[in-house]
């Protein structure tokens, strides 16, 4: 069957399904995108793309291939979120298959599996590394233990006749009728922060007994004018602070204790300033792009990725008086990545960006090859003071030794990791044939943007309302 026709059928089927099930829209389809995480104390990077996770030691290039069967680090659907616990004992992965898998980093064996009633959107560990908190697209946040889960819920399994399923997590709280987009625990371990599609950030007290729920709300951080897409916890800046970013193209600094907004940086304005005089770039500037990912490093450095931008934006938390403010410092092209998706800092404070390197445009008729997962790494220049000097520079083959350690060429690391995902690019293509969007701009935020109803449309809806019609 020609591809077009196939896509058409898929679309039709999807529409039929949509009509049948009104909740269908909540299950928006998003193509797979790469997700990165770095071990907090060892040289280990984890990369998820599609259904699998790969772990690599960037100093040796060796894949930490789990001696047991590698298939175990697998999910049955796309992985959306990945994190290491603060003590490095666990790695957790979760996503569209609604399963939360906690892996022991010592032997990469699965130490517990939890089930979520909906696709998992984000995960966070408790400070002590004993609990994992996971959010879903119904706006709920659940908790599960890391070391071992209670036995599978047999009652349910026997009644459905299915093989026993992993247990459902303990319900902590819910964001009513919203999608939780990100969760983080503050550096003091006291608060669990959750952000949602409705501009809201909730600060909940981490309960002593998570199995009984989190009933106490500490504050709300309100100020975003569009969905909140990501949260980050700045390290070592004294007081407990929170960073958030979202669809309004701003990064905001909060005091989670009382929900006070301390500073706002409008990225899109700042980004323009950074490219001033560079007419070529000004053209493709993200006019009002959503922030898709954010990470914090030492020295108050914050790295941010914007939707539809091939750059990573670096800002710094600068102390002023007894507080801090956000200053945009640098904009780095992540070539050859065209659509950066995930960003993280490693032990040497290098910035890692994972993204897709060949992005197809909608007009392109032929298959001009699938996109492949690519890494971009930048290392600190050592410059922290002067505002004019760049903070980071792309890591090239010339910069490959750090101290007396031999560091593997980044492209080799990328190859090692990327090779694992070779087959997955096909998966992306298959998904597209099923009528899902793949390729640039990465539709990460697709499901978060609300459908806008025009004034005219609203009037029409109003006029056609059942109660009105009955009157006339």
């Amino acid at each position: 069957m020609p591809r077009r026709a196939k896509t058409e059928t898929a679309k039709k089927e999807r529409n039929a399904k949509q009509q049948h099930n009104p909740n269908f829209q909540e299950e928006h389809f998003v193509a797979p995108f790469p997700v990165l995480a770095f071990h907090p104390s060892e040289s280990l990077v984890a990369l998820a793309y599609g259904k699998s996770v790969r772990i690599c030691n960037p100093s040796t290039g060796s894949l930490a291939s789990p001696t047991a069967d590698e298939d175990k680090l697998q999910h049955s659907e796309t992985i959306r979120t990945l994190a290491f616990s603060e003590n490095g004992e666990f790695l957790v992965s979760a996503g569209d298959d609604k399963l939360v898998k906690v892996w022991k980093t010592a032997d990469w064996k699965c130490s517990s599996t939890w089930r979520s009633p909906k696709k998992v959107s984000s995960i966070a560990f408790s400070k002590d590394g004993k609990w994992v908190f996971f959010s879903n697209k119904f706006g709920e946040v659940h908790a599960g233990t890391c070391s071992s889960a209670p036995p599978p819920q047999d009652a349910e399994a026997s009644s459905t006749g299915a093989s026993s399923e992993p247990p459902l997590g303990y319900l902590l709280f819910g964001h009513c009728c919203s999608i939780v987009t990100d969760t983080k625990v503050t550096s003091d371990g006291k608060y669990l922060i959750s952000a949602d599609r409705d501009e809201k950030i909730r600060v909940s007290k981490v309960p002593r007994e998570p199995e009984k729920g989190a009933h106490e709300i500490q504050s709300y951080c309100l100020g975003h004018r569009s969905f909140v897409s990501c949260l980050a916890i700045p390290s070592n800046i004294g007081a407990s602070r929170l960073l958030s970013a979202g669809g309004d193209g701003t990064v905001r600094l909060w005091c989670p204790e009382d929900g006070t907004l301390l500073d706002t940086l409008a990225l899109t304005e700042g980004a323009r300033a950074l490219t001033e005089g560079d007419a070529e770039d000004a053209d493709e500037d993200p006019a009002c792009s959503a922030v898709v990912a954010m990470a914090t490093g030492a020295g108050g450095v914050v790295a941010v990725l914007l939707e539809r931008s091939p750059d990573v934006f670096l800002m710094q938390l600068e102390s002023v008086g007894d507080g801090h403010r956000l200053v945009l410092r640098q904009r780095l092209r992540c070539s050859p990545i065209l659509a950066p998706c995930s960003v993280t800092f490693d032990l040497q404070q290098r910035i890692w960006v994972a993204g897709l390197s060949s992005v197809k445009t909608a007009e392109e008729d032929q298959d001009t090859g699938s996109e492949s997962v690519t890494l971009f790494v930048a290392s600190p220049t050592g410059n922290t003071g002067a505002a004019e000097e760049p903070l980071y520079k792309p890591l090239t083959t010339a910069d490959l030794s750090i101290g007396d350690k031999r560091v593997l060429p980044m492209h080799q690391v990328a190859q090692s990791l990327g090779a694992c995902f070779g087959s997955l690019s096909t998966t992306a293509l298959e998904l597209e044939e099923e009528g899902m969007t793949v390729g640039g701009p990465v539709p990460l935020m697709g499901g978060l943007t609300k459908r806008k109803i025009s004034e005219a449309e609203r009037e029409k809806n109003k006029a056609n309302r059942l109660d009105k019609r009955m009157k006339t």
Binding site: G223, R225, I453
Partner: protein, 266 residues
């Protein structure tokens, strides 16, 4: 997305057609009929303030926030203290108003027609009884979703849930307005010692609300002695349109009232 910076004026009634009024200026309910239900889980299409500081209460309570500096406000530092969640046609607010003349109170109503009716009703009552009903108003909003946009932590003393929609089907229980997860929000906005009132004529929903509150660590049931001296209790079953309908039909009334507490070591 698409929200205006300023919340819409409380008294912006788009079709304030004089023919919808009775001779005393009171709005006639039959012109404000709306469909029986609105789905509270749908995305909103009405303006909501970004945060409580952006909510303009002066438009709702001009006598408490006079624009003319030479006019003394009815009370200093007035704040909204009581909320009637899903206020319907506003019967409770009208009877609560004289009981707590210094406290501001709002009804939150999801259906726009119905909230327009309540606003008109309050305006007409203020006109007919100068100096009265200045402390009540109505917001067209989704109380399940937007309480944080209007109120600060511990601001409220009373929250009312009178004859809420029952949403019988198990699949729709998520739409119920008193649930375990929403109670955490209600607890956040109620000050310690504040009261949460619920009443329904649907025993199944009564049990549901009762159980949710009984199991919540931040709520404690009021004793009979406490209920006996609370002036709000009689209003729960008599003040609202729904309450009166139930009374006429001699339906059952399940009342459950709780206090916000603050236990140690959660």
């Amino acid at each position: 997305m698409g929200r205006e910076k300023r919340a819409a004026s409380a008294m912006d009634a788009p079709d304030r057609d004089p023919s919808h009024r009775q001779s005393d200026g009171m709005p006639q309910k039959r012109f404000y009929r709306a469909r029986a239900h609105s789905n509270p889980l749908n995305d909103c299409q009405f303006p909501v303030p970004v945060s409580p500081v952006e909510q303009d209460w002066a438009e709702h309570f001009p006598a408490f926030f006079p624009s003319d500096p030479s006019v003394a406000p009815l009370a200093d530092d007035a704040k909204v203290r009581m909320v009637d969640v899903g206020c319907g046609f506003g019967g409770l607010l009208m009877q609560l108003s004289p009981l707590f003349p210094k406290d501001l109170m709002v009804g939150m109503e999801l259906r726009d027609k119905v909230s327009e009716y309540v606003k008109e009703r309050i305006l007409a009552s203020r006109k007919n009884h100068p100096g009265e009903f200045e402390n009540v108003s109505c917001l067209r909003t989704n109380a399940m979703k937007y309480l944080p946009n209007y109120f600060e932590k511990g601001q409220l003393t009373k929250l009312f849930f009178l004859f809420p929609d029952p949403h019988f089907k198990a699949a729709n229980h998520r739409r119920r307005i008193v649930t375990r997860t929403l109670l955490a929000e209600y607890a956040h906005f109620l000050q310690v010692g504040g009261t949460l009132y619920t009443v329904t004529d649907v025993p199944e929903l009564g049990d549901w609300m009762s159980e949710a509150c009984d199991n919540h660590p931040l709520f404690e049931r009021l004793t009979q002695e406490e209920l006996d001296v609370d002036p709000c209790i009689p209003l729960l079953t008599t003040a609202t349109e729904e309450g009166q309908k139930v009374a006429r039909n001699e339906g059952v009334r399940c009342m459950n009232v709780f206090r916000r507490i603050s236990p140690e070591g959660l």
